[in-house]
């Protein structure tokens, strides 16, 4: 029979690629503060030709509360899904079961 090899498991786990989430909360960027927002605050205008898109990442230009919108969607979808499966066989048993 096969035996669980902890060392091999840990080794494989360490080799897994880093998970990149698309829905990360915004981060502070000094370039944006000094070259975009301070300019807008002073003159009310911003020259697009001065913009350096390589000076900031997507995470820097993500609104802080943005990921929470998706949590609301996920919760809503899960609730609807639960409603559909409420009357299925497994849940009518009133006891824990696997599918």
């Amino acid at each position: 029979m096969f035996e669980f090899n902890v060392a091999a498991f840990a080794d494989r786990l360490a080799k897994l690629p880093v998970r990149v989430s698309l829905l990360e909360s915004g981060t502070y960027n000094r370039y944006l503060r000094e070259n975009v927002f301070d300019v807008l605050r002073q003159s009310g205008k911003f020259d697009l030709r001065d913009l350096d898109c390589d000076a900031f990442t997507y995470q820097d230009v993500t609104p802080v509360s943005y990921p929470s919108c998706f949590i609301h969607s996920q919760v809503g979808w899960a609730k609807t899904f639960n409603k559909f499966v409420k009357d299925t066989g497994a849940s009518s048993r009133k006891e824990p079961s696997f599918f």
Binding site: V20, L22, L23, G26, Y28, L32, R33, V36, F37, L40, R41, G44, K45, F46, D47, L48, R49, L51, C53, F56, Y58, V61, T62, P63, V64, Y66, C69, F70, S73, W77
Partner: protein, 185 residues
């Protein structure tokens, strides 16, 4: 974060411009020349312009029944996503093309209706190797800034999924080659 009243508008536009520069550099340059100096009150207008420029092809349509504007979108990333899904369905045999169509529709809805209700309706028209998205733009709850933010996330997701799907066959091919080498030795 930056103590600016219209911070979210500015961030959405910058997010969109960054993506536009990566995907359509010529259109990005044209927009920079067209707008030059943008005043704070025009950031939402700029976001809307970028939304129409970021996809490969975008057409304007009209729904006379509800008097609503329809945005018709065609893009290479969407086509690749659709063909990869079809491939998966054929290989596994466990789900149908109708399920793939629902999957695309749900994905679009998840990303494009997350933070705003700008999109009132979605229709996915599938062809053999391409996909057309029809988005009903709600005149009552239209918010170009939030819509632009959602579009960037949606396109990033498609890009990431397409890259993942192209990386998998490469890995499989490398494994096969290794096995064949071993067998030959």
């Amino acid at each position: 974060m930056y103590d600016y009243e219209y911070e979210e508008d500015v961030l959405a536009v910058l997010r969109m411009l960054k993506l536009l520069k990566e995907r359509q550099p010529e259109r990005y340059r044209a927009i920079c020349e067209q707008y030059e100096e943008v005043e704070w009150q025009f950031f939402d207008e700029l976001a809307w312009t970028c939304v129409w420029e970021v996809f490969d092809e975008t057409f304007n349509d009209f729904d006379p029944d509800y008097e609503v504007e329809i945005m018709v979108v065609e893009d290479a990333a969407l086509d690749r996503f659709w063909t990869n899904l079809q491939k998966k369905a054929r290989e596994s045999g466990s789900y149908s093309l109708a399920a793939c169509r629902s999957y695309i529709r749900d994905t679009t809805e998840y990303f494009l209706r997350a933070s705003s209700y700008t999109v009132a309706g979605i229709e996915c028209i599938t062809h053999e190797k391409s996909l057309t998205l029809k988005l009903w733009i709600s005149p009552d709850t239209y918010n170009p800034v939030e819509f632009a933010t959602d579009i960037v996330t949606f396109l990033q997701y498609l890009q990431a999924e397409n890259e993942k799907n192209t990386a998998r066959p490469k890995k499989r091919r490398a494994k096969k080659a290794k096995i064949e080498e071993k067998e030959a030795a």
